[in-house]
């Protein structure tokens, strides 16, 4: 039960006077990020769709990074992760991050492989 809250976000660059002010500040930030996401989703700027980085469109990179940013602030400020012991933070975050990254990597590679097999109608190696 941490009655004292850490009141600075953005690595200490933005400090709030009270916990309530911080909550509203984080809400404004999350809203801005969501508005950017929705605006990009509706407009779909051409140059972000044409170029790719590591086989993924720029636009999708932006969406995924902004999602992780939102997830960070929801967990850190709404779920009070910022006020917990670093050992609890790490136990929760690294377990999830490691297992999820592994699962996604394996499944997406496998999915892409099956796509290639369907497309060429040819079994390249053990299917």
């Amino acid at each position: 039960m941490a009655h004292e809250h850490k009141l600075a976000i953005f690595r200490g660059t933005l400090k709030f006077k009270s916990n309530i002010a911080k909550i509203w500040g984080v809400f404004v930030f999350l809203s801005i990020v969501t508005i950017i996401e929705v605006a990009l989703g509706i407009l779909k700027p051409e140059f972000l769709l044409e170029n790719r980085f590591l086989a993924m469109k720029y636009l999708n990179w932006i969406f995924i990074i902004l999602t992780l940013v939102k997830a960070y602030y929801i967990t850190w400020d709404f779920m009070h992760m910022r006020d917990e012991k670093s050992s609890l933070r790490r136990a929760v975050v690294w377990t999830g991050v490691f297992l999820i990254c592994y699962l996604i990597l394996i499944l997406l590679i496998e999915g892409d492989y099956i796509y290639e097999v369907y497309k060429s109608n040819y079994v390249k190696f053990d299917f």
Partner: protein, 326 residues
């Protein structure tokens, strides 16, 4: 609690009990255990969605074309706006929840009551919106034809606008004899009938020269491939099998049936979480009103349900990205 826990005589020592591992109380720690495991469940679902999407990457429906509806704005295509609204509702109910937790720390019963009330309202609006979105998705809008190979073909006019099958299908008078349970030893209820039969859609399509067909597959510009009139006729006559209206677990007029399956499953599982979250919030809300936590001297229970509620919001952030944006 004291009456149910046996004293060991080693209280105060490191392994004597009574310590809080990681400085979190038992209940909070268990809530984090649950949240981590539930997060892994959701990532399993979303990763499975990614797997199926990568498998059919050149034919996966575009969310913008599927979710274009806003309540009370019938026929106005507005992709994304309604989901964005739902996202805001959920984030805002998270804010009122965290304000309730903050008021709880300060032992302000009245404020906790009001903030919990707004949280519950927000959750209810979200679940209602999701139900509406499901209903719209199940109903469908233009209708399509499924081929013998299970692929979806949709109809366009020569200007590239979508055409609903109801606008061109020709009514062919037929008499259907429904097999009823009283007439047979072996009886299975028939499937839901579509408004038009495939033969009616085919006749209407052949009679209207300005209609074209588009397939699920994307051309090099990332647009669904539109066939020429001759190819379209060939496709309908040779491959067409049945009419699909809306989406269910077997057929999906918007594209691959797996898209509908994952949509129902993932948003359904998330919606179930929101529903249980609302119910738990209501229980805690009444506990706050009758003063349970005031007597207990701690509003930690509000903090624990708060953790769950924020988690539901957190999951929605990911569902929103992977179902509607990416």
């Amino acid at each position: 609690m004291d009456t149910t826990v046996a004293k060991t005589g080693t209280e105060g020592k490191t392994w004597g009990g009574g310590n809080k591992p990681l400085n979190a109380s038992y209940g909070k720690m268990m809530m984090w255990f649950f949240i981590v495991s539930d997060a892994l469940t959701f990532s399993g679902f979303i990763a499975a969605y990614g797997f199926s999407r990568f498998k059919f990457i050149d034919a996966w429906p575009i969310a913008d074309e599927v979710f274009t509806h806003v309540p009370f704005l019938h026929g106005v295509p507005a992709p994304m706006y309604y989901v964005a609204f739902m996202t805001f509702i959920l984030i805002f109910s998270s804010v009122t929840m965290v304000l309730a937790v903050d008021a709880g720390h300060k032992m302000q019963q009245k404020k906790v009551i009001w903030y919990m009330f707004f949280t519950i309202i927000g959750g209810a609006i979200f679940v209602g919106s999701q139900a509406w979105e499901w209903a719209t998705f199940i109903k469908g809008d233009y209708g399509a034809v499924e081929t013998k190979g299970g692929k979806i073909i949709q109809f366009l006019d020569t200007e590239g606008k979508r055409v609903a099958i109801a606008d061109f299908a020709e009514k062919i008078p037929t008499a259907r004899n429904v097999h009823e349970e009283s007439n047979g030893v072996w009886y299975e209820a028939e499937e839901t009938q579509t408004t038009f039969s495939f033969e009616e859609v085919k006749a209407g399509f052949l009679a209207n020269d300005n209609l074209l067909v588009r397939t699920q597959y994307y051309d090099e510009n990332g647009e669904p491939t539109v066939l020429s009139r001759e190819e379209s006729i060939e496709k309908i006559v040779n491959d067409g099998k049945l009419v699909v209206e809306g989406a269910n677990l077997k057929h999906n007029e918007y594209g691959h049936p797996l898209f509908a399956d994952f949509f129902f499953f993932i948003t359904g599982f998330h919606g179930f979480h929101v529903l249980t979250g609302v119910l738990i919030n209501i229980i805690i809300f009444f506990n706050v009103i009758i003063g349970t936590y005031e007597r207990r001297g701690s509003y930690e229970m509000v903090e624990k349900v708060g953790l769950y509620w924020h988690f539901v919001d957190l999951v929605w952030v990911f569902v929103f990205t992977f179902f509607y944006l990416v």
